[in-house]
Symmetry: C2
Subunit: 507 residues, 2 copies
């Protein structure tokens, strides 16, 4: 075969694997939305079997041979072109997958399918004991994986965590994150204290009116469309823990949850997931299933969701536009309020127990807790049995509050039950990246405030399409950020954004 033909064969082969990967994503989407209560065990078998087939394809010797040949050839010379990136990233992925025995891959698939089902029930019953054995299995399996992936013979805790982190945030290192997060924490902790004693705190009174779930559904669909999510290529459903998943080049689905008595839960959940969906919908669809058509990293992914949720959705300009339109849909509940009231209330900063409902400032302390805990659990330094106490103590330490139930504590998030260990830090990276991106966009386009006031989100979206979405996974996150913003990872734009916004609100 000549080299072009080898490249085509490789592309076709990997695209076929993507047919199975997206089918697997449907099995998981359906598991989280509509699976009958007794259907769980068989679903885990379906997922396990498909994961095994996918792993066999990902580690097929002919794929390895093609990629080896391509890596040494002329098509690989420009590693950030679509063709070059395809070769480089696929070869990197191949080498990683080839280190993992199929028994481990299948065991992990089964454990996380059953783990998520167990988590959902345990959370409902607030029963840690129903979940703990699943969590232990999952941490054991992922530790085994991390050990296999480590290059050094006697990996320490940091090596192990790096091995998993790299799957979510390519090239990131535990040590660098520890430093950045520490610098961020040193800014945020005094900020939280100052805001807590500030004279003019928001009250949160806007949320005292219940909004029927049916109406919230209509509002969520509407706001997702307004910011640019395309329903002809997606859909919005409900689930226990909101997420976004892609089932094909024209099928990216978002999920949220509604609380009749707490409107922002569904509204901001939707804005957040729609931000993820808009990113996926902006990836080059002709490269679907290949690196140029894939997300750059989870940190970049999260920058997109947080950007729409917070930088847009909690801005005064947004509420000047949104308030009258939303008030009309709330049937008079907001008749004595103004855009300013809502703006203040969506920027209420107060330590709280639930990460996904936390304000922008304390949110990152939630992430820090998970980042620290999962490192200890992965290394084995902390046992699963002791994890709830460790959780509660850290909440006391960083946020000054202590959960009274596991549901509001260690059982709140789906991630660990889904095997996602090394994933949480990408949330804080997303916040930092988002601040850097918004700063850069406004540097280039001028202030976007006036457009938001008119409900015009196109200039922001176009800038993101061009500077972030279009590149897929052709560049690493640090390179992408450097090119788009002129800066390395930096926590200062985020801190500056928070201070600039919150100081006038809290006086």
């Amino acid at each position: 075969m000549d080299i072009d033909h080898t490249f085509q064969e490789t592309k076709t082969y990997v695209s076929r694997t993507a047919l199975l990967e997206s089918t697997l994503a449907l099995l998981e989407w359906d598991e989280r939305t509509g699976l009958p209560s007794q259907g769980g065990a068989y679903r885990a078998e379906q997922i396990t079997h498909l994961s095994g087939l996918i792993h066999r394809r990902r580690t097929a010797p002919e794929l390895g041979a093609w990629l080896q040949e391509l890596s040494a050839g002329p098509l690989a010379s420009n590693a950030t072109s679509p063709v070059g990136a395809t070769i480089a990233k696929l070869f990197k992925d191949y080498k990683r997958h080839a280190q993992l025995p199929i028994e481990l891959v299948e065991a992990t698939s089964r454990a996380v399918a059953l783990g998520q089902q167990a988590w959902e029930k345990a959370r409902e019953l607030d029963s840690w004991n129903d979940f703990a054995p699943h969590l232990k299995t999952i941490f054991d399996l992922r530790r085994e994986e991390a050990q296999l992936l480590c290059e050094r013979p006697n990996p320490d805790a940091t090596d192990l965590y790096d091995a998993l982190l790299d799957q979510y945030e390519e090239g990131a290192r535990t040590q660098q994150l520890t430093n950045t997060f520490a610098a961020l924490r040193d800014e945020l902790v005094p900020l939280v204290s100052n805001l807590t004693i500030a004279p003019n705190r928001p009250t949160g009174h806007c949320w005292q009116y219940p909004v029927p779930v049916d109406r919230q559904r209509r509002i969520s669909k509407w706001i997702a469309e307004q910011i640019g999510y395309d329903f002809s290529r997606g859909r919005l459903d409900e689930t226990t823990h909101p997420f976004c998943t892609t089932l094909g080049p024209n099928d990216c689905r978002i999920l949220t949850r509604y609380q009749e008595k707490y409107f922002p839960s569904g509204f901001y959940g939707t804005l957040h997931e729609a931000g993820h969906g808009i990113y996926e919908q902006g990836l080059p669809d002709k490269w679907y299933g290949l690196p140029p058509g894939a997300a750059c990293s989870l940190g970049i992914h999260e920058s997109q969701s947080r950007l729409w949720e917070n930088f847009v959705g909690r801005s005064f300009a947004f509420w000047r536009w949104c308030f009258p339109l939303l008030a009309k849909q709330l049937n008079g509940a907001w008749k004595s309020l103004s855009a300013e009231h809502v703006y203040r209330d969506v920027n209420l900063v107060a330590p709280s127990l639930i990460r996904v409902e936390a304000d922008e400032v304390t949110y990152n302390l939630h992430i820090l807790i998970r980042f620290e805990l999962e490192q200890s659990l992965l290394s084995g330094e902390l046992s699963v049995a002791d994890a709830p106490d460790a959780w509660n103590e850290r909440y006391q330490h960083y946020l000054g509050i202590r959960p009274s139930t596991h549901r509001d504590g260690i059982l709140q998030d789906v991630h660990w039950s889904a095997g996602l260990i090394g994933y949480f830090p990408t949330y804080t990276l997303g916040n930092l990246y988002a601040a850097q991106l918004v700063e850069a966009a406004e540097r280039q386009l001028g202030p976007l405030t006036e457009q938001f006031t008119k409900g015009d989100f196109n200039p922001m979206l176009s800038w993101l399409r061009e500077n972030v979405h279009a590149h897929g996974r052709c560049q690493s996150a640090p390179d992408l950020m450097l090119k788009a913003t002129g800066q390395q990872l930096n926590h200062r734009p985020f801190v500056k954004y928070l201070s600039n916004k919150l100081a006038p609100i809290y006086e």
Copy 2:
């Protein structure tokens, strides 16, 4: 390997194939319920790829060798025991699949995935031309399949149809159905004429009250539960064309559709699909994916849906129980009515255009039309281009009415777009089998009327579980019917049931 080990290997192998088959069923379920409008083309590729994988597994030489060995061995001696039937049916299926090249299987999968999407749009737009090319491709591919499956070198029209029919109704023959259907037609046509001029015809006034779709959803869920459909192992959704599909041993889903202005559409659609679901839920789940855990035939399947829909759901006993409960849920719309009114209206016989909403008498004339047309289309005697005219003429001839749109004519049913050719006659078989089964059950248990009056459907259900559901595909439909009822296929119990019920209503 010893023979027991070979049997275990075979079982494991086929059960793994079932993991993929049920995953394919999820891709199709989702295609018909929630797929974003632009997601169709990629979904067709996912379905095609999975169908190819499944076909490769179904025709794997090692599977053939195991089945050959098992068929010659002692485990095959009792062909209606679970083990013997597993061997016999799997070997039969293997030989059929092995005659079909993978290219044909994949082309058919793609054609029917795209065909169903095209049908759904064409039906909405009432545009025959948007659908005709798809239908031609589908008939061409299935004709090719039938030719490959025919044992005789120059198959005639009947041979071709037999080859497809056998996949839905094992062992049935075109000639036998033609005869039975002719005998039935000769009874039904004069019955329809008599009822049309009868003095005391029902009016259908019960349906003049619109029922909000939300309320219909609740009612449908309730009635499905009442007759025995288990929601912990299933769910009820909405789609264009109602169906039932099984995604695992504890996951059998039913789908219906609602019309605000025509309550019986959703109500009887639900009873019908719940009947299918109850059958699937009654199959031995430890044999899931293998012949003892599979449905006997589509005729038997349809006997279960029609039994609950009509023999139960259009009986006076059922309405004596159901009327007050339903009237309460209809908020006074039925306050001037009685059980008798509703009973009369659900037994209104009148020629109409839409098969799934046809009464029990004229229904079988709809089937006859499709049975005749698909034979001509398959043999090539009738061209796809001429099919709408042929359709309309036959409606004029058998039912005395003529559709004014394709939507109410040839575009009404999903089957042909899904490649289901040779499937329609199983609907009439289902009616005949249902009448025979009810007659036999009442012969053994005594009249079931009193129990229905109390909403107690358990005696009927238990009898079906024992005499029909428990046997899976271990016996052929004729053998199963003979054992359960003491009779061969016979149209008389059905005609007798109709006359006994309708004569008093119409006087």
